[in-house]
């Protein structure tokens, strides 16, 4: 086989590289960048990534123009000393805003420049106040709008929202994050455990079944194939406090005190999510394990039986070691799938128990806080990496084999 690919062969891989770059690598990189910023889409002063300060120049110019417009109206209302004060004010404002007359968008502003703007606004505010105090009996036009206009001018100075590692520090002290992590781990470990246990049992039974295997396989595939969001909705109905048959069954069996607890209490929602997940994915696990069982050489079982080994011993000594590769791969994929669970819980209970994906989505899309949201998803990313590492290095799952 040739060791290098020609440009023609490279063209065949190019579409894959492009899609992977745009829809996987770029978002991961961008999330990394977001995580260093206090980036909130619903806050005007931080709805983009500002590495340096900005002046909202068009707004600054507009506010100044309005100030002068009201001051001009006031000229006729005051005496000569007052007129001189107003003229001086107008002159200063005009000087400050005229450089931005043509500005169409925010301009970069140094820290020094930002201080100057703030000082200028404070100065004008004081002088307007002095003017009002000098003429307590006159109803000045400027008094009505000066405060709001000057406040707005203050807000035109937008500082940098680069916060470096602050977001990560916040994560370290974020109790909600750790409780989401705990929920995610509880959900993942319990669901995968039961999926493995029941899936293995089913696979062993199916491996021996004489008839009916086709039917079992077909039926197994249906829960796996329907959208998670749809199956979660089905379970919402089955769990419903008044009309849900599963909730009623569990109450009658004494598993829960009253039917509505399944979708309202903390342990109830966790159990509900786990059961729905086990229902949907156990067949998938069983099919994977069955496939693994069926490549085991039949002769081995016969020799074991000749040697007088019982079923348990045969399972531990022969089946399990030979099944290990497919078992680990199946476990790895199921663990990671369960760890990033979103659709199921988002639909089933609209977000309880709050797992990491649910928390991240609420922060990002619900609150528009893309900066901190990126910190949470990157933490998830690290967890996923650790889980994969655990399986591959510690348990020896082989994923890439030539």
């Amino acid at each position: 086989m040739p060791k290098r690919i020609t440009w023609r062969q490279f063209l065949f891989v190019l579409p894959l590289l492009l899609l992977v770059s745009v829809f996987s690598l770029y978002p991961i990189f961008t999330s990394g960048v977001y995580s260093f910023f206090d980036y909130q889409t619903n806050d005007q002063t931080r709805n983009a990534l500002y590495t340096e300060g900005h002046l909202n120049a068009p707004l600054f110019h507009e506010d100044g123009t309005y100030l002068n417009f009201y001051l001009k109206k006031d000229l006729s209302l005051v005496d000569e000393t007052g007129q001189q004060t107003i003229a001086a004010l107008q002159q200063d404002i005009l000087e400050a805003i005229s450089p931005y007359a043509e500005a169409k968008q925010p301009l970069a502003l140094s820290g020094e420049g930002a201080k100057q703007v703030t000082a200028f606004v404070a100065n004008i505010r004081q002088r307007v106040k002095d003017l009002e105090n000098a003429y307590p009996d006159v109803e000045l036009n400027i008094s009505k709008s000066a405060d709001s206009l000057l406040d707005e001018m203050d807000s035109t100075v937008v500082g940098s929202n680069f916060i470096g590692l602050e977001g990560y520090k916040r994560l370290g002290q974020d109790g909600r994050f750790f409780s989401a992590l705990r929920n995610t781990l509880v959900f993942t470990i319990i669901s995968v455990f039961f999926e493995l246990l029941i899936g293995m049992g089913l696979a062993l039974v199916m491996n021996r079944a004489v008839r009916g295997i086709g039917l079992v396989r077909t039926v197994s595939l249906i829960p796996w194939a329907i959208p998670t969001a749809v199956s979660a909705l089905i379970w919402t109905y089955l769990y419903d406090g008044t009309s849900g048959i599963v909730a009623r069954l569990f109450t009658q069996l004494g598993l829960i005190a009253s039917p509505e607890l399944l979708l309202t209490s903390a342990s109830g929602t966790m159990a509900a999510a786990i059961i729905a997940d086990v229902w949907k994915t156990t067949p998938y696990m069983a099919l994977l394990l069955l496939a693994g069982l069926q490549v085991i050489d039949h002769g081995l079982y016969e020799s074991a039986s000749v040697d007088g080994a019982g079923p348990v011993r045969t399972f531990i000594r022969i089946t399990l070691p030979l099944l290990k590769p497919s078992l680990l791969v199946a476990l790895l994929f199921r663990t990671l799938d369960a760890f990033r669970v979103y659709d199921l819980i988002a639909v089933l209970t609209k977000g309880t128990p709050e797992t990491l994906s649910i928390y991240a989505y609420k922060v990002m899309v619900g609150q528009g806080n893309y900066g901190y949201g990126a910190v949470i998803v990157l933490a998830m990313f690290v967890c996923v990496g650790l889980i994969a590492l655990l399986y591959v290095k510690v348990l020896g799952a082989e994923l890439i084999n030539e």
Partner: protein
């Protein structure tokens, strides 16, 4: 070498069999099927029976009705089925094309960075999809691609890695000698893929297409985020939009569920062999 388990291998191995196994299987089938049956039953019940204390758990409706179906059809549930068809078909078409082209190179040639690329593809199939939501939303916002079928391109993150994976496994099973013969006959790379490899790997290509279609059909997060406009809602998003803030109309929801499950049911019944092969591909070694 990674290979597929042929479906004809799914045949019994032992002859010993006991009633306990039958019981386990029967119980399993009951648990798997019951939620669907109950949904079907409820969909024919009028609201008064669904919420009635004595009638909620009756197996057969006292006054069966089709009104739930009429209502959800009027609410346009079929337009979400249409959207899902469009989105899943587009995704399947381009993913199969892109995956087969790259899988051919990955299966047939050794080159620098190949392991890295394979590892990257595997990594993408594992990472939390939540990570792409923020940046991709901003990207689509800036390109004015929100609320459109462009969402299908973003679906590549969830469909492309496994598609490449399944294809590579299938292409590797095709003997090299066939291509050598074709090369002597003067086939170029493109002809090699389309005229030689593709027809032989057709079952694998078909498996990939089915798996991609199902994955795209089931996608929820990206459509929810990128296509907030109801006109572009796919089945998973649209059916959840039937839940209102205060009341849940189970009659309508169960009827809608029955309707949207039908396409999946047809796919499973027609293509179960390909699906089993897709699920187990790469996970089993010989």
């Amino acid at each position: 070498m990674t290979t597929l388990v042929k479906t004809n291998r799914l045949k019994p191995q032992g002859s010993r069999f006991n009633p306990l196994s039958w019981l386990v299987i029967a119980l399993f089938l009951l648990i798997m099927v019951f939620p669907f049956l109950w949904i079907l039953i409820t969909s024919f019940k009028p609201g008064s029976e669904i919420y009635g204390r004595d009638t909620a758990f009756r197996i057969l409706a006292i006054n069966p009705t089709l009104s739930n179906y009429e209502t959800v059809l009027q609410k346009g549930i079929l337009s979400s089925v249409k959207n899902s068809m469009i989105v899943s078909s587009i995704t399947t078409a381009y993913v199969v094309l892109v995956a087969s082209m790259s899988a051919y190179i990955l299966a047939r040639f050794t080159f620098k960075g190949k392991r890295l690329l394979m590892g990257l593809i595997l990594g993408i199939s594992m990472f939390p999809q939540m990570i792409i939501v923020g940046p991709v939303f901003n990207l689509y916002y800036n390109l004015k691609a929100l609320n459109s079928y462009w969402v299908t391109l973003a679906y590549s993150t969830i469909t492309l890695p496994s598609a490449v994976w399944i294809m590579v496994a299938h292409f590797k099973r095709i003997p090299l000698s066939i291509e050598e013969a074709a090369r002597i006959d003067g086939c170029n790379l493109w002809q090699m893929l389309w005229k030689v490899i593709f027809p032989i790997a057709a079952p694998g290509v078909f498996t990939t297409a089915i798996m991609t279609f199902i994955a795209a059909w089931n996608e929820y997060l990206l459509t929810l985020t990128l296509n907030s406009d109801k006109a572009y809602h796919t089945v998973p998003v649209a059916i959840n939009a039937l839940r209102t803030q205060f009341t849940i109309l189970w009659g309508e929801i169960t009827a809608a569920t029955v309707i949207v499950i039908i396409p999946t049911l047809i796919i499973v019944l027609l293509f179960q062999k390909q699906i089993v092969s897709g699920i187990t591909s790469g996970a089993v070694k010989e």
